[in-house]
Symmetry: C2
Subunit: 454 residues, 2 copies
């Protein structure tokens, strides 16, 4: 049977197997899921072996294990390093899921569940593409090294150490990653730019303990109010980040790129529908696409303090907290930005409170040229898999590892994304389009096949 | 045995009995404690009967039942209406309690547990004072009507209906309430002023669902940021509430009262120690005591939105919430203030978000003259019970019912408070000083005895 026919014949098997993986709640940020993480790592290792990879190993790290396997049976052919992650975002708030986060369910041509798009579903696309190539041709057309980590959603803490320790072994002609989204449904896409990500946590302490807001209110520093006043000063009226020096090294968009980006088949109306807010907002002087892809941001990801239950509690809490992140673009330096943000927050805080500012992770942005011939192979493979024209896009999300690999190994990084912008990757009802999942397996298989002729 | 000797002989019994009541987690704000609330109501009814009161009844209301009993065996003598509440604040955050909130424990001369000071311990002082009077004299020296509600911590929703429906029955020569604190340890106090309380909840909705902060960040309204920006604009740089009209009707403090308040034995150093913040703050132009007792405030009591768990989650949440309260002073009108606060918030919010503003409760402030002779009886009783000089004070907390009763029945309201400012009434490690608990029983018994000679 030919490759594409074989893949078509296996649709049901592939989907059922993916559901197995999705049922394992491998949430890397939550300690209670430690054993689920380990279970997911063993599952990945087993499927790598099933795809015919050798030297499959689960390597313990500081936090969660990394799974590695390789197939070097194509002498003289290019070597591809595939990267993905088997850990997922927390599923909370659980009550907002239509079907439970870890009980995968098909509805309206989509597969729902935490990790469907980010990134288990996309990792599985590669596992099944490799397996299909082996089952139809007896061996893989190129040399493949596969590295699937379990810490992506907590900042890939150990990944770089692993790479450094295995530098020779990981050498490849290209890095391939499927952890991004297509521009829109029916528009297969290759991502050539990602924003960097710094993630911070801020704790503000006023009184030494919670106080009665009647007995003490009016004369003591309220950490919630002070936290709000501090956050409010982190943006100016033009939605620019009001941290001195924040924009110092931001690269200016070239006229050519601005034009290319603005001519993409991107529909503002569709974007507005996805967001569902009364109106959009953003940095003055830039289009929506530019705000999302090429401009840096500061976003609040969480806030909490005081009484958050039902009804009333008249308390002035001792502490209030916020989770804050900055998305970075070339040529912002993550370490410098972290220092600038902390410095500004320290400057804004009154002397009535204490604070703790923690940098949970930092990550560089990445933007690359797509002139290398491998990108034409990728575009062709996507068009074969989907029967539709493929495009080059940038994305607002972050995969710090791509930047590090690109900087270190100086090889092309090919980001084949099979998610969609409304996939709810970090939110309830995360899903992957079945068209993209099945089209993805075909595209990736064709891509690996085509690489043999590079 | 004489009254005070009898009370001394019963210390252990009284304390053990109070612990029974404290073990019932009668949290009125949390639905899961419905049956505990009912248990506490039955407990109170039983003890009223034990103190010899008649017609003891548990009256169902919209939310939580009210317990009533009376003793009208002293014809020609004054009638006192006693008010208290058996419901308590939520105990969260539970992990901050030294000993569990509903397992009362004695340490350092204090009894710890939710409700020890607010208000179960103080209600129990009256129950045991009445019982002691009956057990030593065979009958009560005055007529007593006792009304203990279960909704004080959720805004006394049904209390006023009950009063209106039982207006004739509740007629009395004075209202007595023990739900306040003494100025300081060793300074028995009568409170002649309370602030009013309005409590609000604000919900802000940006995107229709949670969004990935990388994919969407920079182009969509973040409800946390917008909530913070809104809160930040509710105070000016002088810590005044920046709601137009908020101060319009605030009564000016007379020179005499300002002088009387400033000469109270109140120690700023002790207050700073209790608060434990790096510094205090408050409205410009007023002393700390004035900020606490005679000036209105706006405080944030809770805030939440987005990811609040461990680690990082890169989400732009759909909603963010705040619990806000205003403390009111004469002659602010609670309904008008609620409208002004809502109007200002609506004005401050950008058109990119939707919002929901809910008024959970409103309550008028109360300040009264203490020229009626009953206050001299009270001062004398406190000095007998504690062996120390008693003073007249105002307090920052709120008992809306006192205002309503005062306005309606035009009788003196005597607030005999046995809490202390550092009792943590709405916070972890709430406690009552044993000296105050036992001194309170004596004082209240002497007070009722003395009222016979009014």
């Amino acid at each position: 049977m030919d490759l594409l026919g074989y893949i078509d014949s296996k649709r049901e098997d592939h989907l059922n197997e993916l559901k197995e993986l999705l049922r394992i709640p491998s949430v890397s940020a939550q300690a209670q899921h430690k054993s689920d993480i380990e279970k997911a790592a063993r599952w990945i290792a087993e499927k790598l072996r099933a795809a015919g990879l050798q030297k499959v190993a689960i390597t313990p790290t500081k936090i969660h294990p990394l799974v590695y396997g390789e197939s070097l049976e194509a002498p003289g052919k290019p070597t591809v390093l595939l990267y993905g992650h088997y850990d997922v975002q927390p599923a909370e708030p659980l009550e907002l899921w239509t079907s439970p986060a870890f009980e995968p369910a098909v509805r309206n041509g989509n597969l729902y569940g935490r990790g469907t798009a980010d990134d288990k579903g996309q990792v599985h696309i590669h596992l099944k593409a490799l397996e299909s190539l082996r089952n139809t041709s007896g061996k893989l057309p190129v040399n493949v090294k596969v590295m699937i980590e379990g810490e992506e959603e907590v900042g890939s803490v150990s990944l770089w150490d692993f790479v450094q320790q295995n530098r020779e072994r990981l050498k490849a002609d290209a890095l391939v990653v499927s952890d991004t989204a297509m521009l829109a449904k029916g528009v297969p896409s290759i991502t050539y730019g990602l924003r960097g990500l710094n993630y911070y946590e801020l704790e503000i302490t006023g009184p030494a303990q919670d106080l009665h807001s009647g007995v003490f209110g009016g004369a003591v520093p309220n950490p919630i109010t002070i936290l709000a006043e501090t956050i409010a000063k982190l943006h100016d009226d033009n939605f620019r980040v009001a941290v001195p020096g924040f924009y110092d090294n931001v690269a200016k968009l070239s006229r050519e790129e601005r034009k290319a980006l603005s001519s993409l088949p991107w529909k503002e109306k569709e974007f507005r529908r996805m967001v569902g807010a009364p109106d959009l907002c953003g940095e003055k002087g830039f289009t929506i696409g530019e705000r999302l892809w090429v401009r840096p941001t500061l976003e609040l990801n969480g806030i909490w303090g005081g009484y958050t239950g039902e009804g009333a509690k008249t308390v002035i809490p001792s502490t209030a907290h916020a989770k804050i992140s900055t998305r970075l673009v070339p040529n912002q330096d993550p370490a410098r930005i972290a220092k600038l943000v902390e410095k500004q927050i320290r400057k804004l805080l009154p002397k009535t409170v204490k604070h703790k500012f923690e940098v949970l992770s930092t990550g560089k942005p990445w933007v690359a040229s797509y002139s290398h011939p491998i990108f034409q192979k990728a575009i062709h493979a996507l068009e074969t898999g989907f029967g539709k024209k493929a495009v080059f896009i940038r994305e607002g999300g972050s995969i710090p590892f791509v930047t590090q690999m690109h900087d270190t190994f100086k090889v092309p990084c090919v980001l084949l994304g099979f998610g969609l912008p409304d996939e709810n990757a970090h939110a309830p009802d995360e899903h992957i389009s079945l068209e993209n999942y099945f089209g993805g397996i075909k595209s990736v298989a064709v891509f690996y096949e085509q690489l043999a002729t590079l």
